[in-house]
């Protein structure tokens, strides 16, 4: 093995030291990944020592090893949860058959597409967030940003491992292409729309990690059921890391809300902006935006792709065990589908009993909606405890959608149809306006590098990381 490709530098539980094929593939890919990281990773912090968690094994102690490390020296590893002996496929047409340890040729293309689409979101989010460090509200948050970034990088490794190990030459080419696309670049964009939107400020970052990474969680939960066992095991391990990203989002928004409540209380008119905070309606607009673009990531409500993936036992439902019918040949999902005229005005609704397999995206979205509500309730409790009447809410899932049955149509946040003209007039009341963006950006013009200090618009966290105090120097500049 080369000096770079060895089990010490690349912690793994896939027997890299005896896997010549994987070694060879990584020899070509790893240097390109590092080049990509240096070019597109967090800008301006590559030489800093960051207190990061590194997974060095899958067991209880090993998956969360903390130490200072320069990000380009981070040990991106390859981990799958331990195999479940005699695992059987849990859904679809191959229900009850032994899980596949190699890619069935019949599904090679479908699986590759699933893995590439999932894999593409990982480097995309690093690219979206690359400038955020320069406006960080604290060293604690800066460290969390980098933790999320390196783990997105590791999730890219996880998908690349599958491409390298199971898809031959095609897989190697796809792995290269994952490093060639660029978020927001019109000539070589990332695959999914939401991952081409820049993440311009920290409020967006917290919303992204709360809402968009939560889409990631549900996609991973669905893939964790896959009949292709290496994919299932890879995504199961990724889920342990994904939880931290959502923690960053949930607590991040909560700290903003808490600080806003404090600032409101200081002001006679409860005017947060006057006190230099982010007012609650603006936070609600960010919720509306990130929630709606994340809903789009689940795909169409009525989808033949979703049906095919389920039928082929490639992508199941989140926590498939909780269902009783795993083949889902007969079931249906009742949907009200909007009927629109040429001007995109909704003229009526038709009831459709969509075959359940075709509605799998919507089934997964339902779980997501429920899960998204939970954090919102915690934020509302902060407001309640502060004695503030305002309550956050998730907008209707019809609001501001780009694809699926509501895509291209116009609905208010309660899901009532409206004309394009009316919607555009009301837009800035629902979604961050240019002025809102400018205001939020104006709060975040300079980074806070002093250990323990917080930017004015955000409250400190309740506790630090891994038993360290909040004042700990999480990033050594």
């Amino acid at each position: 093995m080369t000096s770079v490709i060895n089990s010490d530098k690349i912690p793994n539980n896939v027997d890299l030291s005896s896997d010549k094929k994987l070694q060879r593939a990584l020899e070509a890919w790893q240097p390109r990944f590092i080049d990509w990281w240096k070019e597109m990773g967090p800008e301006g912090f590559q030489e800093d020592q960051v207190y990061l968690r590194t997974a060095i094994s899958v067991d209880h102690d090993g998956w969360a090893h903390f130490d200072y490390v320069k990000m380009p020296d981070y040990r991106w590893g390859i981990f799958l949860t331990e195999p479940e002996p005699n695992r059987k496929i849990g859904f679809g047409d191959f229900y009850g058959e032994p899980a596949w340890q190699t890619v069935p040729g019949e599904f090679r293309n479908s699986l590759r597409r699933l893995i590439v689409t999932q894999g593409d979101t990982e480097p995309a989010s690093v690219e979206q967030q690359r400038l955020l460090g320069q406006t960080c509200p604290s060293l604690y948050d800066l460290r969390n940003l980098f933790q999320v970034n390196v783990e997105e990088g590791r999730h890219l490794w996880a998908m690349v491992y599958l491409l390298h190990s199971y898809f031959g030459r095609d897989g190697r080419e796809e792995a290269e292409a994952l490093l060639e696309r660029r978020s927001g670049n019109p000539d070589k964009p990332r695959i999914l729309g939401a991952f081409n939107e820049p993440c311009q400020n920290w409020l967006s970052f917290f919303m992204f990690t709360y809402f968009t990474d939560r889409d990631g969680k549900y996609q991973l939960l669905a893939l964790a059921e896959s009949g292709f066992d290496p994919l299932a095991r890879t995504t199961r391990f990724m889920l342990t890391e994904e939880a931290h990203h959502m923690f960053v989002g949930e607590t991040g928004v909560m700290r903003v809300v808490q600080r806003t409540a404090e600032l409101m209380k200081k002001n006679r008119h409860e005017d947060a902006r006057a006190e230099g905070g982010i007012d609650l309606p603006t936070i609600q607009k960010y919720i509306n935006f990130w929630y709606s673009v994340s809903l789009d990531l689940f795909g169409g409500e009525i989808s033949s792709n979703a049906a095919n993936f389920f039928a082929a036992s490639l992508k199941g439902r989140a926590k498939e065990d909780g269902y009783t019918d795993h083949r889902v040949i007969d079931g249906s999902y009742a949907m009200d589908v909007p009927v629109a005229d040429k001007e995109s005005n909704v003229t009526g609704w038709k009831k459709e009993d969509v075959p359940l397999r075709n509605a799998m995206n919507e089934v997964l979205r339902d779980e997501y909606v429920r899960d998204s509500q939970r954090g919102l309730e915690k934020w509302n409790r902060v407001l309640e405890e502060a004695g503030i009447q305002y309550q956050f809410r998730l907008p209707s899932r019809r609001f501001h959608r780009q694809n699926g049955i509501y895509g291209g149509l116009y609905f208010d946040v309660d899901g009532n149809p409206m004309s394009k003209e009316d919607w555009e007039k009301s837009r800035d009341g629902w979604l961050p306006s240019a002025a809102d963006e400018a205001y939020v950006a104006s709060l975040m013009t300079a980074p806070v590098y002093e250990a323990g200090k917080m930017a004015h618009w955000i409250a400190p966290p309740k506790q630090g990381i891994k038993g360290r105090p909040v004042e700990f120097e999480y990033v050594r500049r």
Binding site: R24, G105, E106, Y166, F167
Partner: protein
Amino acid sequence: MEHAAPSSQEPIRFEAHPSGYKHWVLTFDGPIARLAMDVNQEHPLRPGYELKLNSYDLGVDIELADAVERIRFEHPEVKVVLVTSAQPRIFCAGANIYMLGSSTHAFKVNFCKFTNETRNSLEEACSESGQHYVAALNGVSSGGGYELALACEKILLADDGNSAVSFPETPLLAVLPGTGGLTRLVDKRKVRRDLADVFSTLAEGIRGRRAQEWNLVDESIAKSKFDATVKERALTMAAATPDKVGAGLTLAPVTPKRSTEKGWLKSEYTHVTLTVKPNDRLAEIEVRGPSSAESLAGESLRAAGNDLWIFRAFRELNDALLDLRFNHETAGLVLLTTKGDPEKVRAADKALLDLEASGDWLAHEIRLYVKRTLKRLDLSARSMFAILTKGSCFAGSLFELALAADRSYMLDDEDEPVQIGLSGMNHGPLPMSNGLTRLQTRFLGRPAIPTELVGVTELMDAATAKERGLVTFTPDAMDWDDEVRLAIEERVSLSPDALTGMEANLRFAGPETMETKIFARLSAWQNWIFQRPNAVGEKGALTMYGRPERPELDWRRT
């Protein structure tokens, strides 16, 4: 309509010998052979129908194919073959309708394909081998009977008030003649299209002078003078045909050793092994190269006879292909492999081509046989992947297997390079049915390449072969197993019907010939008309044939 699949019955075998013919009488008189059809109605290939009125089934055609081959190889003295009937008032009523009615679709398609290949071989004997087929129609010739006559170089029809030629398929059965008849009418005999239209809808056909006037036959001859005139015409043609120097050879059987092991069906020939893996929908044909490579002379060729490597290998391949087509319907993907020394293959090719160039008719005949077998491979409705691994010998005539394949996988191993090579066989002697070599067809848009390749005489490794466009994929040793496995699994998961159509579209780029037209239109009509309710529905014409009620047709045109 669809009965038990043939695979559930005894397998069909394709070897025959005149001593065992049930349906033909083959006699020789100097330069003239007489091949008289005398179908024994009690001996259909499968039980369930009677072969009345010299109607034929596959069993009859297997004997015909055998006869045509034997006349070519065993009887160089024969210059004219009279195809006639040994039964009164009927030459041949065509393919047996009840046989067709009780066969699976796949069987019908393969039956028609085989009969077409036999007729093409008969035409090739006329144009390439100095053996002129003359149809002496001494009775009614309808459907496939007239199509057999159309494949002959000359058609002589008895003018007796009874003997007619006809295509009753459209008016009586709502299907089409399945052995190239319509194409040959207008393309070969150049019958005016409006007259051909009238003829093809006239169930009772056309007799006597009018048949001659429309060029449906070459001569209409009064009954009293028929035999004498036929003989006279045969002798005239024979006199105009040069003699062949050198003896023929007696075709020996190439029966393989068959065994079943782990559910795999193995047919082991001397140079070929066919392995069918029904559970994987897969078959593998391995062709082994020659063990020695010496130059050939007329005597050494005849001394080697049936055991000449290239002849035996391709006869075995031919038999394996027919076995695959008729007896292993679900083996949708065929992996073509070879084993041996590529240089020895090229030497064997050269030896045969040199001897042919010196004028030896038997060398010429063997080369034509190789050509026909490769066409049969092209025309087999199976996906084909050539797998070029260590110890393979895809060179010259055996490289044609890789060129015939839908794609090829060649192992790229620096330590122990797999090599391919070209020989004279790749540059003209083995054209496809479109009249082009497989290299010309492959590089249709870049015609300079096949010409340049004539100058490439060294063996090529995987990188070179890939660069020259001669192979599709060249995975290295680390990728090989996965790449090939995935490609195989993916292929056998696709619809067999769509693949058949797709492959047939892609394989035959380039110009149309009578052969390509016949096979293309055959598959088009068989796969459409023969599946339509107007033919095979409950009240379809083919279903109702011979029953008291009339068929009911759906009158909508497409």
